[in-house]
Amino acid sequence: MADTNYDLIVLGSGPGGYVAAIRAAQLGLKTAIVERELLGGICLNWGCIPTKALLRSAEIYHYMQNAGAYGLKAAEISADIDAVVKRSRGVAKQLNQGVTHLMKKHKITVHMGEGKLTAPGKLEVKGEKGTETLTAKNIIVATGARARDLPFAPADGKRIWTYRHALVPPEMPKKLLVIGSGAIGIEFASFYKDMGAEVTVVEMLDRVVPVEDADISAFLEKSLKKQGMTILTGAGVEELKATATGVSAKIKTKDGKTETSEFSHAIVAIGIVPNTENIGLEALGVKTTKGHIDTDAMCRTNVPGLWAIGDVTAPPWLAHKAMHESVIAVEAIAGNHPHAMDVRNIPGCTYCRPQIASVGLTEAKAKELGYEVKAGTFPFMGNGKAIALGEAEGFTKTVFDAKTGELLGAHMIGAEVTELIQGYTIGKTAELVEDDFIGTVFPHPTLSETMHEGVLAAFGRPLHI
């Protein structure tokens, strides 16, 4: 029998799990990883990465359609959804193989199969070749999450989709209903709109992307409406039925009226459910809150030797949060003293058109917490590079603590802001104060200059407006 006793077993190989395994191997721990489906998990097979591939196609298609604005001519432009999806799958496959290679390179044993905790330090893996029992002093649960279904209309993959179906659509939707305007809903709405579909977004709360700053929500809604999208906020879908030709949705709108509308397809993006079933958590008495595993700042569960990271734990449910937690947990397991993560320093990115990126507190939240706030906004319209790019739509907003000069939050919407937010994130993590941002030289001409101006604006001294 092969040696199945490890220093560390990681259950789940998503961005949290595989990074945990790599860091553990780097620290000299004998490490195994258990995966039931595909190495890399949702993120790079069915989430972050393949959607970015799709969105890139949609973006280029959008540029081609607007070639005239740049003095160019493009004729006979059309989109081939099958080819676009094929490219996206190719990207996912490439990264999946990349993870396989990384596991091999770090001598991490991969056990394919369904893992289940049977006792502290013991994990049973049911694979194709039978069942084996692995043991380890420490086990990290990184099983992630999946899409939440509408209770009255579970996704069927034909007419009613989750993100997963939307990534490999059976056909190009003509008239799409997107339920939920969080990051996932809005990204697919944006993708299919740019690909030529008629899109309606239904959001239960009073604004789209409700976790973002209210200014961002308002700006995005205006921008999406201008693109021709129908946005229904404060509205709920009360009935959703697949028909022979599409879906029929009964929608209760803001003013209390109920209307039934027909769509060709619907995407349900109303949140996630943690994958905590059938992995043996109950038997070990692992504590959870609303289904998500409770952990301390070092990612320990209440069961000694059992750790949990990523979407299966508390929010925010983001791949980079899982990756960072994985390193914290593994360092703690190895006896090092990692510093705990501050959720206020975790940025969030949404890759719709225009893009959204933010970190920290919204202005409203900061005020609610009792901060005396200094906030300012700088429009992309005042940025030379944005105008040259033909991307003058957007703004950068910063929120500072008036008393201490601490950056409480930064909120951006516009071209490439997802690539820019890291600047504020570094500053926030390093606890830079307004003088540090003001005293930094930003290269000209770049979109990043709006970050400088966004800080200056908070202190009433923007230069280009």
């Binding site: 301390d296 209440n302 000694p304 705990a340 000069g405 104060v433």
Partner: protein, 430 residues
């Protein structure tokens, strides 16, 4: 002219304290001698009196603020009829200027208040040398609040001091005040942080450490880490001492004095130290300090901890005087009203757990002292008297000695002398 009230140094070694409570509010008229605030130091709560007459124009440090550095402006008083508004503007830059020099570590704390503290000087060593890693925000907050960053433990990346460390977060364990020791360069004690206690899901509650608890933790850790202890135990027959106590108390009754065994043992220890001066010392790293007087610190248990009021020159005092003083000091200690001079110093300590029935124990030396005497319970034991088994009242006493300063033979001589004094107690009366 507005008058700035600064955090007072309530003892020579005090560097910071907790502003426990304001007894006045903005707008109150105060006269010299009025009580303004209660300030908690590492060992006691002290009252802060007004020296000037005027109106409290502004309170700058709110009640409950920990680690307020000596010299920090805590409030502003204006003269009668003066415009409080103009005074309000004044203190801000003043406070800043005051605090600023505190940030770059190597400078000793700007002790604006009285009492130059020669003994505390070596404490400055702690701050020198290493670069202090702190975030720009932490530096700014420290400067504005007059916090000395060198007293903080950083919890950010690579031990960097971050904002949370200044907010009295559980991880912020300030290394607290300077040791009075000329020897110990106030090395920051490795006090555990709450992070270090794993949470096994056991129901619990975390309570923030009091200044006294932090000091106890730091000093005892320091003592055990820095002073190699040796322990010497003797059994001492108490019958003669108890008999003398009975006789003395009978004659002292009219004066309202009642000697305890402990009062007599304080005297005995002091006299023993005078006779064996090699044990009445402090180890000073490169010097040995020989005391020419025996001041005995007496461990007194108080709510939330322990304090050691001092009987100064116990060897030179009568037992009745020791008894009276001890009664007063113990009462003050229990109310938290001891003045720093009453509990700081001492050349040796005595700790008595006899009343709890403890037969014998070893105590931790109270640095920079060289020894501590641990007294067990006096109890009837089978005892050999004149080669015959008899019953005698006997107690075990254990001396802990700082072996860097005190050789075993000297320690043994002290124990022998102490035993003889207790067993032939007339020497204590003489």
């Amino acid at each position: 002219m507005p008058i700035e009230l600064k955090m007072p140094a309530l003892s020579p070694t005090m560097e910071e304290g907790t502003l426990a409570k304001w007894l006045v509010k903005e707008g109150d008229t105060v006269q010299s001698g009025d009580l303004l605030a209660e300030i908690e130091t590492d060992k006691a709560t002290m009252e802060y009196e007004a020296i000037d007459d005027g109106v409290i124009a502004q309170i700058l440090i709110p009640a409950g603020t920990d680690n307020v550095k000596v010299g920090t402006v805590i409030a502003v008083i204006t003269g009668e009829g003066e415009d409080a508004g103009t005074a309000k503007a004044a203190p801000a830059p003043a406070a800043k200027a005051e605090a600023a020099p505190a940030a770059p570590a190597p400078t000793p704390a700007p002790a604006a208040a009285p009492a130059p503290a020669p003994a505390a000087a070596p404490a400055a060593l702690a701050a020198s040398g290493d670069r202090i890693k702190a975030s720009p925000l932490a530096k700014r907050l420290a400067a504005s609040q007059g916090i000395d960053l060198s007293t903080l433990t950083g919890t950010g990346p690579g031990g960097r001091i971050v904002k949370a460390d200044l907010e009295g977060a559980p991880t912020a364990a300030p290394a607290a005040t300077a040791s009075a020791s000329p020897a110990a360069p106030a090395a920051s004690a490795p006090i555990m942080t709450s992070e270090a206690i794993p949470d096994f899901g056991i129901p619990h509650e975390d309570t923030k450490l009091s200044g006294m608890r932090k000091t106890i933790a730091r000093r005892l850790t320091e003592s055990m880490q820095q002073s190699p202890h040796i322990y010497l135990t003797v059994d001492i027959r108490l019958d003669a001492l108890l008999k003398l106590r009975g006789e003395l108390n009978a004659s002292l009754e009219s004066r309202g004095v009642k000697l305890s065994v402990n009062d007599m043992l304080i005297k005995a220890l002091a006299v023993a130290l005078e006779r064996v001066p090699a044990c009445n010392v402090s180890f000073g790293g490169d010097v040995m300090r020989q005391y020419s007087r025996a001041d005995i610190s007496v461990a007194v248990s108080i709510p939330g901890g322990l304090i050691t009021p001092i009987i100064t020159d116990a060897g030179g005092k009568s037992m009745s005087k020791i008894s009276t003083e001890m009664g007063e000091l113990a009462a003050k200690a229990k109310e938290g009203k001891l003045q720093p001079a009453e509990y700081q110093g001492g050349t040796a300590s005595i700790s008595n757990m006899g009343m709890m029935g403890i037969k014998q124990f070893t105590a931790v030396i109270n640095p920079p002292q060289g020894m501590i005497m641990a007294i067990g319970a006096g109890e009837k034991r089978p005892y050999v008297v004149d080669d015959a088994l008899a019953i005698a009242t006997v107690m075990s006493a254990t001396g802990s000695f700082d072996h860097r300063a005190i050789d075993g033979a000297d320690g043994a001589l002290l124990m022998k002398t102490f035993k003889e004094l207790v067993e032939n107690p007339l020497g204590l009366v003489a």
